[in-house]
């Protein structure tokens, strides 16, 4: 059988974390989801450097952009002119909101990476096939697109290296990857199409399918379901406004409730990572 955790406990842990990231503005809660996501990613088989790099770059971009697209906040740091497209007045509140938004984006990116690295992909595809029993294309693209993208990145990177282009971490390598983005996307889409064609050719959606009996959930997976359910409860509380926070016009003070939600989220995320992560680094 393939390695990786069963989809249900994995989804139950990562989905509430992502929900909390999206629903909360409290900086402590956001920091807690980022911490939990980072631990989950580190305990998974995902290429953590890749996801951490993408998360960091995106977060930095969002954080730096916000002061120049928002024009709110009382505590002015730089009083530049306001143009049609860019607001050059920078406030402390804009910087804080940008940083929080960056942390949110980074946390969600790491959560996606952690899910891909933790879950048994074969069982995830089988699950996706249940959700889209008549469409091989939907199942193949939904469950295999990101893994295929990763694999194609390796293949296409090797093709570039065989033609003399560096693909390491240098500035030249960044230029190389810039040139490779289009073929990489085309290749992943083509593979997704191939996969859908293969599934159709092998009889997908022709009759009511049966399923290979799955192994029983392990003790750790059952325990992580419990962790996931508590996280889901926290997510519901967060959506209901249990950890409010205000950035504009002046920064609010973090609340006790927010701190409690943050502490619980971080602790549960770390426990979930320990239970689901099969191969600690």
């Amino acid at each position: 059988m393939s390695e990786g955790a069963a989809p249900l406990p994995t989804v139950l842990v990562v989905a509430p974390l992502a929900t909390i990231s999206f629903a909360s503005d409290d900086p402590l809660v956001l920091a807690a989801t980022l911490l939990a996501a980072a631990v989950l990613l580190a305990r998974s088989r995902a290429p953590w450097r890749l996801f951490a790099g993408v998360a960091g770059m995106t977060a930095l971009g969002v954080a730096l952009l916000n002061p120049f697209v928002a024009s709110e906040g009382d505590l002015i740091l730089v009083n530049g002119p306001h143009t049609v497209l860019i607001d050059l007045q920078v406030t402390v509140e804009e910087l804080a909101y940008g940083a929080a938004a960056g942390v949110r984006v980074a946390a969600v990116t790491l959560i996606c990476g952690a899910f891909l690295g933790l879950v048994d992909r074969d069982r995830a595809l089988a699950g996706a096939a249940r959700l889209a029993p008549r469409s091989a294309m939907a199942a193949a693209l939904g469950a295999r697109m990101l893994p295929l993208l990763r694999r194609d990145a390796t293949t296409i990177g090797e093709a570039a290296r065989l033609r003399g282009l560096a693909t390491g971490t240098s500035r030249a390598a960044l230029r190389t990857w810039g040139r490779l983005l289009v073929p990489l996307t085309a290749s992943a889409l083509e593979r997704g199409l191939d996969r859908a064609e293969a599934m159709t050719a092998r009889g997908y959606a022709t009759t009511r399918p049966t399923r290979l009996p799955e192994r029983a959930l392990t003790g750790a997976e059952r325990a992580s379901i419990g962790v996931g359910l508590v996280l889901a409860f926290l997510a519901v509380l967060t959506v209901a406004g249990a950890a409010p926070f205000r950035y504009y016009p002046t920064l609010a003070t973090p609340t006790i409730t927010g701190a409690a939600v943050a502490l619980a989220t971080a602790a549960l995320g770390v426990v979930g990572a320990t239970l689901l992560g099969g191969r600690p680094r």
């Binding site: 393939s2 033609r163 073929p183 997908y204 009759t207 049966t210």
Partner: protein, 424 residues
């Protein structure tokens, strides 16, 4: 009648000419039909039409009538495109799941299918850890498992060693005798002809004479050492993929690398090209120790055409692809001509057929004129005429002082092209 095409004309969505023109073809239960003919004469398209995959997955327009009575299974030319799951047994069981075989029977049935193609040892492994030949065996087990009434096989032995191919072909005859209709598109007629009830020849036959291309070289008449891998060791878990392997390529020689599926041929080529590093051992290129030198820094002294080069194309047109590494225009034009893809120069590489893509990939490697050329199964999907032309081209390179190392299961091609053979 299990299946038939009745006056079918078809053009792919991205095609400029018809892939099939007024094609009529039928196959009966228990019959083995071999489709032979040069690349591009419609063998794969006939299989896709019988499987109901065109025009649905490839666009274009189909005229005429296609009928199929009973369950159909198809094994694609590229076994990598066949896999759905990562786990081998699970993937073999996929077709059984789709046919509604009860859950408790799936696992034993999948293992039995693997055993039928001689691939029981692949149980417990993942598809992405398999060699090309092992992938092909897993793909074949996957299509044989549901015991279809019509079995369509596109180049099923292209990546198999002689033993595995012979066992597979014997098994195919046995299941045909039990009533399954089988259509095989195959360039290696020597491997399948003896089990065929009918051979359908498509298009113009470009096979030419079977006489050797050249006189055998006298032993010892070789130039300086160009590339050498010494005492190379690679392990995957507890398995030794390469165990103290040594290989040397000299100027003016073509070396054939042979060995059973999974013997480590592709792994060895990757080490020599610098894509992977050996755990133990050294690699020298033109007298320089390059063991720790990355692949990009071995370019253009060395070029590798990997096993599935069609997946490695990077540009928007065939000409741009061949000129990608900065080769002079004259060298690009020569390579396009040599690989018979000059007429495709302005096409997008991803709009080409698998065989055309592979020829483009070969043209890419030839354009940089490397001192050492490494080829991994370059004749997969090539008709006999093109195989012979490629052999002549490689001989020409060798006679101009270059070195060529070619991993191949194609014994006839190896005998045609190589000065000597190295077995893993």
């Amino acid at each position: 009648m299990i299946a038939a095409l009745d006056h079918v004309t078809y053009r792919y969505g991205a095609g400029t000419t018809d892939a099939l023109v007024d094609c009529s073809f039928a196959v009966r239960a228990g019959e083995v039909v071999v489709l032979a003919g040069p690349s591009g004469t419609g063998k794969t398209t006939i299989l896709r039409a019988l499987a109901g995959l065109v025009p649905h997955y490839h666009g274009g327009r189909l005229r005429g009538r296609v009928t199929a009575n009973g369950s159909v299974a198809i094994a694609f030319q590229d076994p990598e495109a066949q896999g759905v799951y990562r786990d081998v047994v699970r993937d073999v069981a996929f077709g059984l799941e789709c046919r509604g075989v009860p859950g408790p029977e799936l696992w034993p049935a999948a293992l039995a299918a693997l055993a039928r193609v001689g691939a029981s040892h692949l149980a417990g492994r993942t598809l992405d850890s398999l060699s090309g030949g092992e992938l092909q065996l897993a793909a074949l087990a996957g299509v044989l498992a549901p015991t279809p009434e019509l079995l369509l096989l596109d180049e099923p032995t292209a990546q198999l060693d002689d033993g595995a191919a012979a066992a597979l072909v014997a098994h195919l005859r046995a299941i045909a005798d039990d009533g399954t209709a089988i259509v095989i598109a195959e360039h290696r007629l020597d491997r399948v002809q003896h089990i065929a009830d009918r051979v359908v020849q498509l298009g113009e036959h470009l096979g030419g004479s079977d006489a050797p291309l050249r006189s055998p070289r006298s032993p010892g008449a070789v130039g300086a050492e160009l590339l050498a891998g010494r005492d190379l060791l690679v392990t995957r878990g507890a398995r030794r993929v390469l165990d103290a392997q040594t290989i040397v390529v000299h100027a003016g020689e073509v070396v054939a690398l042979r060995g059973a599926n999974g013997a480590g041929k592709s792994t060895l080529l990757r080490l020599l090209a610098g894509l992977d590093r050996p755990e133990v051992g050294s690699v020298t290129l033109l007298g320089e120790d390059v063991t720790a030198v990355a692949a990009e820094l071995r370019h253009p002294r060395l070029a590798l055409v990997p096993q599935d080069p069609g997946r490695h194309l990077l540009c928007e047109s065939v000409t741009d692809e061949v000129a990608f590494a900065g080769s002079p225009a004259a060298a690009v034009a020569r390579s396009l001509d040599a690989m018979d893809v000059a007429h495709l120069a302005d096409r997008h590489p991803r709009d080409l057929s698998a065989g055309e893509r592979e020829r483009v990939a070969l043209a890419v490697a030839l354009a940089v004129d490397p001192a050492v050329l490494l080829l991994d199964e370059p004749t997969r999907g090539m008709d006999s005429g093109r195989r012979r032309r490629l052999a002549a081209l490689l001989r020409e390179r060798a006679s101009s002082g270059r070195g060529v190392l070619v991993a191949t299961h194609d014994g006839a091609f190896g005998a045609d092209v190589a000065d000597r053979e190295v077995r893993l």
